[in-house]
Structures are given as structure tokens and as C-alpha cells.
């Protein structure tokens, strides 16, 4: 217990270094920009930023990715409130009441509610991250090869099964990922497997290239196939971005309820922020003393949705960090970020690499404060960014995908891998297959090594 408290304190000291603070500010700002742009997702943003974290210390790199994650989940609410278009699916429920508030001339209040609720949702989710993650890691320490193998199988089935429209299709995606993970040198005897004469495949499919392709390049293809529509002008608003004491008191129970909902959904693999926001919204409506306000701009509706979706962030990190089971796409990409830094998800993160892990946790707490500050101050500016056309995003994101995958080994072969995975990701999304399951299996072969030993 004392040791844990010491690690927590040390984590905060490390997280407060200038580099980490800059990483938090930059990550949150970038995340909000990504989140408020309809068409771009949190997973895509995190995947695109993976190459930039290579040269950073592991804790700083993870803080950047975590900050982008939190920022993007909150950022989606800005476009949901001001242009009635959720920036990410996680803010779909926010658009219902948020836009009504904008029409009522209360856009500032709606944005302030979103900021405040996201902050509390995210901050409270850190409590479970601090307390449940080490407990689960303790349990995972007792796992031997057989348990690890079955855990791998469980992870595969739960992600593939729960988050896909068809369970069998989800499992097929996971199995496809398993086949892809066999490319490269055999980890047991070093035999070349499915390398097709390409030396760069010796270490298997490059994690970053696969993730950029599956989550970012595939999104470019999705954007490129549809008519490029002019975005609605963000509503101008003159009211202050602030909440009164009475309003803060009014939304308090909603925030607490939504935090619990979001946190549980986050911990459960397969569910995610897009489900949590609707559950948070529904519970806010159900328990509200002023139900008649719902549908006409209810402040509790915005609070319920935003608190729940941000409460998912901390919760979803728990199974990923302790058991290597990413609950959704973003955590699958974050897991890639860990692997790139040479760290394997699992109990070792809480023993051998505990200092790094607790610095990341502390950074995750501080990120919530930066999100509140940047969100409150920069809402008006971010609202203008949300109008950026897909016609500009398509070539810009393509260039970032190419440079991001090239930068890893300074090799054009990696760009080819990224493009192949981009095409694969695009087709998988079109035909309701599960990209997260492929990413998880293709990039992290937990059960593979366990099975071989």
C-alpha cells in the first residue's frame, strides 16, 4: 500500500516535468482539433501520432497518446453543439440537447457544460484506473503460459464478438489477424514464414504501419468515396462559456451517474464511448427532475452524455494495460503505442515498469485539467476548425499517413505495408468486419508466444 502511494507520488513528480506538461498541452489541443473535425476519429488521430512518439521517453509518448484520446472524445462535442454534427460517434447523444441549447442562444452554456462534465467524467475515471488496474495486474501476475493463452483467446473472442454486428464475422476478423501475425521469423526456431522474399518482413508486420493503415488510411478512403459536402457554419454565440453555481449543482448527480456508467462500459471490452454517451444521456433523462426540458435543450442531457463518454477513457485502459485486452479501437492503437516503446501490456507494467506506468497515470489525471482549461478558453477557435472541409483533409491525412509510416525505418516498404493495410481496413469497414480485432491480433501475439512455450 505504502509502496503504491509512493509510486503515485513519484508519478506526479515525473508527470510535472516541462516535457510532459508540454506533451499534455500539445496532445490535448491536437486531440480536440481531431475530435471536432467530423470524419476524423480518436483512433485515427492516435494512430497518426504514433511515429512522433518514437523518440520520446515511454511515459511522455504514452501521455501524448492519452491526451489525444481524451481531447478527441471531448472535442467531438464542439461540432455536435455548434453545427449539429458530432465530431466523433462518442458525441452523438450530445448533439441532441447541445444543438437545441445553441438554437436557444445558450451555445456558450452548452459548451461549458460539455467541458465541465468531460473534465469530471475523465477525472473520476482515473480513480478506477488507479485502484482497479493494480489489483487486476496482481491477479495477472499469477498467470502461467496456459492462462495467458486462454486469456489471449478470451481477448480475441470478446473484442471480435461483442463489438461486431455479427459475432462470426468478428471472429473471422480476429482469425485473419492471427494469420497476419504469423508473417515473419518463427519466434521459436527462427524459420522464415510467409516473408515472400522480403527481408523487411523478418520482424513481422510493422505495428505502426498496420495501425496507421487500418485506422487512418482507411478513413481517407472512406472520406474519398463520398460527396464532399460543405459543412454547416458554426453557430455564432455571444453568451459566456461559463456555468453558474446553481447549474453546476444541478448537473452534479448526472455527472456522478454517468461517470459510473461510462466507467463500467469502459472496463467492459467491446463496448465504448459511443454506447456510453447514449446510456449516460438516457439515465440523465430518466432521473431528471425537469424531464420536460429534454428535447428542448436540457443541460443535464449534455452533462450525462459528455460525462459518460469521457469516463470511458480511464476505464478502457484497465483491461488493456493489465491483461492486454483493448476494449475498443483507440485502446487497440494505444496498445500499439506501448508495443512500439518495447513494453508488453500486462502485470510487468506494474512491477518492472511501475514508475513509467504511474507517470502515465498521473499524466492522465493532469490531462483532464488541461482539457478543461484548453476547452474553456479555445472553444470559439476550435469551432471554426470544425468547418474544415474533407477536401482539405483527404490529401493532408494521406501525406501524414505516408510520412508517418516512412519515418519508422526510413523505408518505402513500410509505406507499401501501410497502403495494403489501408485498403484492407477500408474493405473491412465496408463489409462490417472488425478492424480492431485484426489490429489486436496482428500486432500483439500474446497467445502465440504462450502457445509456443
Amino acid at each position: 500500500m505504502l509502496e503504491t502511494l509512493q509510486l503515485m507520488g513519484q508519478g506526479f513528480i515525473s508527470a510535472l516535468s516541462i516535457l510532459n506538461l508540454l506533451a499534455m498541452i500539445g496532445g490535448v489541443a491536437l486531440g480536440i482539433v481531431i475530435g471536432c473535425l467530423p470524419g476524423l476519429s480518436a483512433a485515427m488521430g492516435v494512430a497518426l501520432m504514433l511515429p512522433l512518439t518514437f523518440t520520446m521517453p515511454a511515459d511522455t509518448g504514452l501521455i501524448v497518446l492519452g491526451a489525444i484520446y481524451c481531447g478527441a472524445i471531448f472535442g467531438g462535442s464542439i461540432s455536435a453543439i455548434l453545427i449539429h454534427t458530432p465530431g466523433t460517434p462518442a458525441s452523438a447523444a450530445t448533439a441532441i440537447e447541445g444543438y437545441q441549447m445553441t438554437l436557444n442562444g445558450q451555445a456558450g452554456k452548452a459548451l461549458a457544460t460539455a467541458c465541465w462534465s468531460s473534465f469530471w467524467g475523465g477525472l473520476l475515471s482515473c480513480i478506477s484506473l488507479y485502484f482497479f488496474a493494480p489489483m487486476l495486474a496482481q491477479l495477472a501476475l499469477k498467470f502461467m503460459s496456459a492462462e495467458k493463452f486462454w486469456l489471449g483467446i478470451f481477448g480475441l473472442t470478446i473484442i471480435a464478438g461483442v463489438s461486431s454486428k455479427s459475432i462470426v464475422k468478428g471472429l473471422m476478423s480476429g482469425a485473419l489477424g492471427l494469420i497476419i501475425s504469423t508473417i515473419g521469423l518463427d519466434p521459436i526456431d527462427g524459420t522464415k514464414r510467409f516473408m515472400f522474399g522480403q527481408a523487411f518482413l523478418a520482424e513481422g508486420i510493422n505495428t505502426t504501419c498496420a495501425l496507421i493503415g487500418l485506422f487512418s488510411m482507411s478513413q481517407v478512403f472512406i472520406l474519398a468515396e463520398k460527396e464532399i459536402k460543405k459543412r454547416a457554419k458554426a453557430a455564432k454565440f455571444s453568451d459566456k462559456i461559463a456555468l453558474t453555481k446553481a447549474e453546476r449543482k444541478k448537473i452534479r448527480p448526472t455527472i456522478i451517474r454517468s461517470w459510473i456508467i461510462g466507467n463500467i462500459i469502459g472496463i467492459l471490452p467491446g463496448a465504448g464511448a459511443s454506447i456510453a454517451c447514449f446510456m449516460g444521456y438516457n439515465s440523465a433523462k430518466q432521473f431528471s427532475k425537469s424531464k420536460e426540458e429534454f428535447g428542448h435543450g436540457a443541460i443535464e442531457g449534455v452533462a450525462g452524455s459528455e460525462s459518460a463518454n469521457n469516463a470511458v477513457t480511464g476505464g478502457s485502459l484497465i483491461p488493456m494495460l493489465t491483461l492486454g485486452i483493448p476494449g475498443e479501437s483507440v485502446t487497440a492503437v494505444l496498445m500499439g503505442g506501448l508495443i512500439i516503446q518495447g513494453l508488453a501490456p500486462g502485470p510487468e507494467l506494474f512491477t518492472k515498469h511501475a514508475a513509467m506506468t504511474y507517470t502515465f497515470f498521473a499524466g492522465f489525471v493532469l490531462v483532464q485539467f488541461f482539457m478543461l482549461a484548453i476547452g474553456m478558453i479555445g472553444c470559439r477557435g476550435f469551432a471554426q476548425i470544425s468547418r474544415l472541409s474533407d477536401a482539405i483533409l483527404i490529401p493532408c491525412v494521406t501525406v501524414l499517413c505516408v510520412i508517418g509510416s516512412y519515418a519508422i525505418h526510413k523505408n518505402m516498404s513500410d509505406v507499401v505495408v501501410m497502403l495494403i493495410f489501408g485498403a484492407l481496413g477500408y474493405l473491412m469497414r465496408k463489409f462490417d468486419l472488425n478492424t480492431a480485432a485484426v489490429a489486436k491480433r496482428a500486432c500483439g501475439a500474446h497467445s502465440v508466444s504462450a502457445m509456443g512455450t
Binding site: 511515429p51 512522433l52 518514437f54 523518440t55 455479427s166 462470426v168 464475422k169 471472429l171 473471422m172 482469425a175 485473419l176 492471427l178 494469420i179 501475425s181 504469423t182 518463427d186 521459436i188 526456431d189 524459420t191 514464414r193 510467409f194 515472400f196 481517407v220 478512403f221 474519398a224 468515396e225 463520398k226 460527396e227 464532399i228 472541409s389 477536401a391 482539405i392 483527404i394 490529401p395 493532408c396 494521406t398 501525406v399 505516408v402 510520412i403 516512412y406 519515418a407 526510413k410 518505402m412 509505406v415 507499401v416 497502403l419 474493405l427 465496408k430 463489409f431 468486419l433 502465440v448 502457445m451 509456443g452
Partner: protein, 149 residues
């Protein structure tokens, strides 16, 4: 739920993946092929299970195209051109260098996608600057230099 014709493509693709990796597994030694074969059999089994589900759905509820949903709002010309531009961009990097190829790719895309000139210029300059600062200065990446730069 009706069987979707588009899912035939999914099944065919998965079987093709199984066949492809199975053929290549002939070259592997006995010890190193056991795990790949396990994964191939797993995918084959799941694909067959899905095929059976499709057949049952077709018999019970009938068949629908599914293409209307998959390709809703699909603009083939725009999609193919974007794809071609990306591939051409990839090859141009080798010959013209990264910055020249990127500039040409972005200009061509902006013109095709009808982005206003001012927005194009701002986006182009911002991207080149971002790449230079983040990748060349911060990460120290030596970008491909072609015949121009």
C-alpha cells in the same frame, strides 16, 4: 435477417486468404508450420460457419443485394481518382523527392476536389512546415530526396 449478396465477396476473400497462406505453408518445416496451419484452419472453419449461416438465412428469409447499403453515396470517379493520385504520389516520392512529390500531390488533389486557392495555399504551406518541423527537425528523419530536392 436476409442473406446479403455482398457477403459472398467476404466469404470468397477469406477462403482466398486461407488458400494463399496454405499454399505458402508447404515451404515451411513441420515445426514452424503447426501454428500457421492452426490459424488457417481456424479462419477456414469460421468462414465455413458464416457460409452456413448465410445459406440458412437465404432459405429462411431470402436474399438481398446489400450493395445499396455498402455503396450508398459511393462516387466511383472521385474514389478511383483519389486512389490513383495516392499511388502516383507514392511512386513520385522516389523520383522527385518527398517535398516536391507532396506539393504536387496536394495541388493536384486540391484542384480536383475544388478547394479554394487561398485554402489550398494555407493547407500546403502548413503541411510542408509541419512535416519539416515534426519529422525533419524533431525526429531527424531523412526524407527521400529525388532528382529535384
Amino acid at each position: 435477417m436476409k442473406m446479403k449478396k455482398t457477403d459472398i465477396g467476404v466469404v470468397a476473400f477469406m477462403y482466398a486468404v486461407c488458400a494463399f497462406f496454405y499454399v505458402y505453408s508447404f515451404d515451411l518445416s513441420e515445426s514452424s508450420k503447426s501454428y500457421p496451419i492452426f490459424t488457417i484452419v481456424l479462419l477456414f472453419g469460421l468462414t465455413t460457419l458464416y457460409l452456413i449461416q448465410m445459406i440458412i438465412a437465404a432459405k429462411k428469409y431470402g436474399v438481398e443485394s446489400g450493395a445499396d447499403k455498402v455503396f450508398a453515396g459511393f462516387l466511383p470517379k472521385q474514389f478511383i481518382l483519389s486512389l490513383v493520385l495516392t499511388i502516383v504520389y507514392f511512386f513520385l516520392i522516389k523520383y522527385l523527392g518527398f517535398f516536391t512529390a507532396t506539393t504536387l500531390f496536394m495541388i493536384a488533389s486540391f484542384i480536383y476536389l475544388k478547394v479554394p486557392v487561398l485554402h489550398s495555399v494555407i493547407a500546403l504551406v502548413s503541411m510542408d512546415l509541419l512535416i519539416y518541423l515534426a519529422f525533419v527537425l524533431f525526429l531527424g528523419v531523412r526524407l527521400p530526396a529525388g532528382i529535384l530536392i
